[in-house]
């Protein structure tokens, strides 16, 4: 099995989709000539040509609006928004157009588009280049939200997202682009909406997604030294999310910690906690604890950002709290 970086794994999925399906097109800011701000789309213009791989001007509202119109007219567009923070400018196209077209037109059309965008802090990019805004989209009926935690999943989930008939927000993590991982060569089911057990354990369930899964795994490794075996569930997608997998794990461990990098308040963790408090109430031996960012913008200075971000210490403290 070959080791591949997260960025390359995404590039490979795009390359494969462009090769296999002439209706796949790629456009966004600096994705063609420059190969993407993080090098993710490098080489795709040369290989697939300027008809299907295009640079756009800095016009986020129209980039995404055009993706919706193209998807309604026979293409499978994959567009990139350079930083997740910039999706704020494209919200109409996502929320009022892409999410609703299938429903409000009575199922006459689908909107098979993918919007790729990186979220996340840890690189001192400051308040407008670091946010994790995935809860916005998970809240909108009609959108799917995928957040892969490793190169192999990024590759397989992106292919699944492009093949999906509905609009998918595919969230990458800029701090993870250089992360290396083994490319799984199995035909393992990597479907949108299907979680994986990233680490088996018996004492507590830690549910997470995206780069935070790696924080959870690091915490679990430390906890194991104190004979605490944490099970780590990697959701892979948060809309839809694998409620059954979380409940199944909870029914074995009876304790639940939810971890994400996004602000805790009104976040994805709140939804998971509410559902488990409802359908998993009898399984819970302790209150559910959420670990996430405090309710404040992502700060710039290293000393501030490092305190802002969730980390293994905070996860360990949460696990100790639910085991107390």
């Amino acid at each position: 099995m070959a080791e591949v970086r997260y960025a390359k794994a995404i590039n490979m999925a795009l390359d494969e989709a462009l090769s296999e399906d002439p209706s796949v097109v790629l456009f966004g800011e600096d994705v063609a000539q420059a190969g993407g701000p993080f090098g993710v789309t490098r080489g795709l213009l040369d290989k697939h040509g300027e008809l299907r791989v295009r640079d756009t001007p800095i016009s986020e509202a129209t980039i995404v609006g055009a993706a919706v119109g193209a998807a309604m007219s026979g293409l499978k567009p994959v567009v990139e928004i350079m930083f997740m923070d910039f999706v704020a400018i494209s919200m109409d196209a996502l929320v009022n157009q892409a999410a609703k077209a299938r429903f409000m037109f009575g199922g006459q059309c689908t909107v098979p588009m993918v919007l790729r965008t990186p979220h996340g802090g840890g690189v001192n990019a400051g308040p407008q280049h670091s946010q994790c805004l995935e809860a916005w989209f998970a809240h909108i009926p009609g959108l799917k939200v995928v957040v892969p935690s490793n190169p192999s999943d990024a590759n397989k989930l992106l292919k699944a997202a492009i093949a999906d008939p509905d609009p998918v927000i595919f969230i990458e993590n800029k701090a993870m682009y250089s992360l290396k991982g083994e490319m799984s060569e199995t035909e393992e089911d990597v479907a949108i909406g299907k979680a994986r057990i990233a680490r088996s354990g018996t004492d507590v369930t830690i549910v997470s997604y995206g780069a935070a899964v790696n924080t959870a795994l690091a915490a679990a490794k430390t906890l194991a030294q104190s004979n605490i075996e944490a099970e780590v569930i990697d959701l892979r997608s948060i809309q839809p999310w694998d409620e059954a997998a979380v409940l199944e794990s909870l029914s074995r461990t009876h304790r639940l910690v939810i971890l994400h990098e996004a602000v805790t308040s009104f976040g994805v963790g709140a939804e998971i906690a509410a559902r488990m408090a409802d359908i998993g109430f009898d399984e819970l031996d302790a209150p559910i604890v959420r670990v996430g960012a405090p309710f404040m913008p992502v700060p710039f200075a290293k000393s501030l950002e490092s305190q802002y971000l969730p980390n293994t210490d905070k996860v360990i403290a949460a696990v100790e709290q639910v085991l107390a």
Binding site: L51, P57, A70, R102
Partner: protein, 329 residues
């Protein structure tokens, strides 16, 4: 319908066809107005009475595979692009058998089978959709073009400016049609936008024409020329149609912001009355015109009956149809 070549005088059958299509839009909207007043049409409806020459003149220059993105004042665009009348009424009356299953209503009438990509509840939002649709035509090399209708109220929306730029950069096969009726919702257009749309297009090297939008032959001739240019690869084109909105922003709007003088002058501009006067000098008889009117009235009456006979949409079917396969969480 296949139209005549630009510049040629319209044939008798084409004139009758224009008349029929304008009357269809007019009488459908007159009927919607009364159904709305009687409570048979729920929600908001925005009528384009007085603007029928624009939608008919432009769509008569289109082919079936061409796509059209519309706006909240979109009944005329839908009907003249070929949305079937009964499913149109069923939709706006909120019925399961409606073209969108009763989920969209007046502001979201769409029919993918005729390239009608939808009316739109968000001002300006159809513009980038048309850009994407034109991109699809360009990539698929299918000789189709995309058309988008927007009002003067959309001129101040950022997506219009972005879309002019992107369409020009990519030489997209798209026709922008600005229906300038002088009113941006409840405010006069000159208090909303300091530039004019043709100057704006010129800044992006987009060729344009401006016509009296209440003269269907002028609208159609310009549309023939501009769609031909877009189709042969000359890139985006703009058509500005100066027209008049007779009804309020939405049905029920008492229009207290318009002067009595303006309101009484509206009949002088009526595109259908103008057309009737014009064709009276041609070889079309009063009897022939009456026969068109009778035919339209019968069609509308049948469509309203169909609308009344429709069933309430099924909630479970709607709830489980948000995604292609099943529900989200």
């Amino acid at each position: 319908m296949k139209s005549t070549k630009a510049g040629k005088p319209a044939s008798k059958s084409q004139l009758l066809d224009f008349y029929e299509r304008m009357l269809l839009v007019r009488e459908a909207e007159n009927k919607l107005s009364s159904l709305f007043a009687d409570g048979e049409v729920p929600g908001f409806i925005h009528l384009s009475i007085g603007q029928e020459a624009v939608c008919v003149g432009v769509t008569a220059a289109l082919e079936k595979q061409d796509t059209l993105a519309s706006n909240h004042r979109g009944h005329g665009h839908a009907l003249s692009k070929g949305v079937e009348l009964e499913s149109f009424f069923l939709e706006i009356m909120g019925k399961e058998e409606g073209i969108c299953g009763g989920r969209g209503g007046s502001m979201h009438v769409a029919d993918m089978s005729v390239g009608m990509l939808g009316a739109n509840g968000i001002v300006g939002a159809g513009i980038p959709l048309a850009i994407g649709s034109a991109l699809a035509h360009q990539v698929r090399k299918n000789d189709a073009i995309a058309v988008v209708f927007f009002g003067d109220g959309a001129l101040a929306e950022g997506v219009l400016h972005e879309s002019f730029n992107l369409a020009a950069l990519w030489k997209l096969p798209v026709l922008f049609v600005c229906e300038n009726n002088g009113w941006s919702e409840f405010s006069p257009a000159n208090l909303q936008f300091v530039a004019n749309v043709r100057d704006l297009a010129k800044a992006f090297d987009i060729p344009s024409q401006c016509v009296d939008g209440n003269e269907i032959l002028d609208v159609h001739k310009a549309a023939e020329e501009l769609t031909a240019a877009a189709r042969r690869g000359d890139g985006p084109q703009l058509l500005e149609c100066i027209t008049h909105r007779v009804r309020g922003h939405f049905e029920g709007d008492p229009q207290k912001y318009r002067t009595e003088e303006e309101m009484t002058s509206l009949s002088e501009h009526d595109p259908i009355t103008k057309f009737e006067k014009l064709v009276a000098t041609k070889r079309i008889t009063k009897k022939e015109m009456q026969s068109v009117r009778d035919k339209i009235n019968q069609k509308i009456s049948n469509a309203v009956d169909a609308g009344r006979g429709g069933s309430d949409p099924d909630f479970e079917r709607a709830r489980t149809d948000v995604y292609t396969a099943g529900e989200g969480l």
